[in-house]
């Protein structure tokens, strides 16, 4: 029922958004923010260190910090210093319907910008570059994807990794038994409890999950990149005014070099809640994306170049 109502809302929102802007009047998301005085940010609960909850259940992370910069820009743009920010939790499965339904204005999580998704939503410039790998127990002896033959693999529903591993399974006829799960924490639990042999996910998230595990040394992340996953902040489509504000805010962050400070804070220092340091220096892919901001999505084949 909830799904249907979100859809209704999204239809309504789409018809509003597709109306031509009259003169200099605000339209779309900017108008919505002006009218309600609230900007709604979608966040995740276990996408360490992009968007997750700290021990006070407050959303924090690299993505959340960048989104707060966008909020500052919106405040300046709309001359609304008292603009309120509301955090709304979303999952891999709900993020797109909720965004389209208007209950969030931007999603700051760990969302891959794909050509497929661009048919539904729009993206800010890439803010992280990663790709699919698998996490397995060291004792399992699994070294790569071909070792998964006939084994159980858990995936988080609605992710690009799900598509990547299923496509690989079809192509190589591995006969993998798939186990769907709701979020990354639950998927990782399936590997921890031996219910599944492997969990394919963006490698950086796997490092985050591994670092947070009770016994990190038990796990190992293996495989070549099965897909490319450029992360970006997600917003509604066909809203050029809002997109410009968001894109400008992110680009300014890149140009000023402030991005390095935020990056170091989340990837090369101790992060809450357990004080782990991911020690994950900025990749060449991300350095490139920072130098020339772009929102190129990953192709239908799961790679940047199909």
């Amino acid at each position: 029922m909830k799904r249907i109502s979100t859809l209704m809302l999204s239809l309504a929102a789409a018809s509003v958004l597709s109306m031509p802007a009259v003169g200099q009047e605000l339209a779309g998301t900017l108008k919505k923010i002006t009218d309600t005085g609230v900007m709604k940010i979608g966040h995740r609960d276990a996408s360490v260190p992009f968007s997750y909850l700290d021990d006070q259940q407050k959303p924090i992370g690299y993505g959340v910090d960048i989104c707060l910069k966008i909020v500052d820009k919106v405040k300046a743009e709309l001359k609304m210093p008292n603009l309120k920010v509301e955090f709304v939790p979303v999952t891999s499965q709900t993020r797109i319907p909720i965004l389209m339904g208007g209950n969030i204005d931007v999603e700051c999580g760990s969302t891959t910008n794909s050509v497929e998704r661009q048919k539904q939503v729009d993206f800010a410039p890439t803010y992280f570059v990663t790709g699919t790998k698998i996490i397995v127990k060291k004792s399992s002896g699994i070294k790569g994807y071909d070792d998964l033959k006939g084994k159980t693999v858990v995936f988080t529903q609605g992710t690009t990794n799900e598509r990547a591993i299923k496509a690989y399974n079809d192509e190589k006829k591995l006969g993998i038994n798939f186990l769907p799960s709701k979020d990354h924490a639950e998927s990782f639990l399936a590997v921890q409890t031996d219910r599944a042999a492997a969990f394919p996910m963006d490698d950086i998230l796997l490092y985050g999950l591994k670092a947070g595990a009770k016994n990190p040394d038990e796990f190992v992340i293996v495989g070549e990149f099965l897909s490319d996953d450029p992360y970006a902040i997600m917003m509604r489509r066909d809203d050029p005014a809002f997109k410009k504000v968001v894109t400008d805010a992110v680009s300014a962050l890149y140009k000023s070099g402030d991005i390095n400070k935020i990056y170091t804070k989340w990837f090369e220092s101790k992060i809450p809640p357990k004080g782990i340091n991911l020690s994950f220096p900025m990749s060449d892919g991300l350095k490139e994306a920072v130098k020339s901001p772009n929102n190129t999505g990953v192709g239908a084949c799961g790679k940047m170049k199909c």
């Binding site: 799904r3 249907i4 979100t6 859809l7 499965q93 797109i96 319907p97 048919k119 539904q120 159980t152 529903q157 609605g158 598509r163 299923k166 496509a167 399974n169 079809d170 186990l179 769907p180 799960s181 709701k182 639990l189 409890t193 031996d194 219910r195």
Partner: protein, 241 residues
Amino acid sequence: MDFSFLSQPAFSGGGTYLDWVITGIKWTVLVSLCAWVIAFSVGSVLGVMRTTKVWWLNGPATAYVELFRNIPLLVHMFIWYFVMPEMVPKVLGAWMKQGMPMPEFWSAVFALGFYTASRVAEQVRSGIQSIPRGQTNAALATGLTMPQVYRHLLLPMGYRIVIPPLTSEFLTIFKNSSVALTIGVLELTAQARTISEYTFRTFEIFTLATVVYVLITMAVVVVMQLVERRVRVPGYIGTGR
């Protein structure tokens, strides 16, 4: 509404999206029917146990009913799926997780079956207890023993009385089977969700799922009405129509 996406080749597995829907229907029906077998048989035994005057029969049955019907179905699912394998000996637990075929299916069947059993037990009990005490006394007076009274009077009449509420229970099990998606059973609702993610045809696919659920439950209603008509006792109950 445009349903043409159903005939398009699905993202993986080689079939079309319609094939995904059909697999979903298959699992919904399988989970529900298997769970109903458990619910009906266990529920019947427990229901009868609750009507006896023997403390070591009705005590445990009462405890079962109160425990199982007072825990949310979702929690039942999680307990069977996540907790059980960790509580049993390690070898058995490992087998439950990896050796056993379709662990999520069987967890769902047991969770749904044993939960619904507590509800069926109450229906059966109410059926038996709604038969006037005079009839039991009369039967005993003719020389029947208590087990014979159950066999020839209380059970045949009691079950007939509770056919309508049991029909509801049978319908509910089909609808409750959708909770199995939380432990990874790809039944109808889960397939609908997956298809909506792949095709963004949320409205169409959930409309289709709704229609399928209604058709399944209508079929159950028809079957149960046939049963009711078939077994009715002329002059007693079920003759009003």
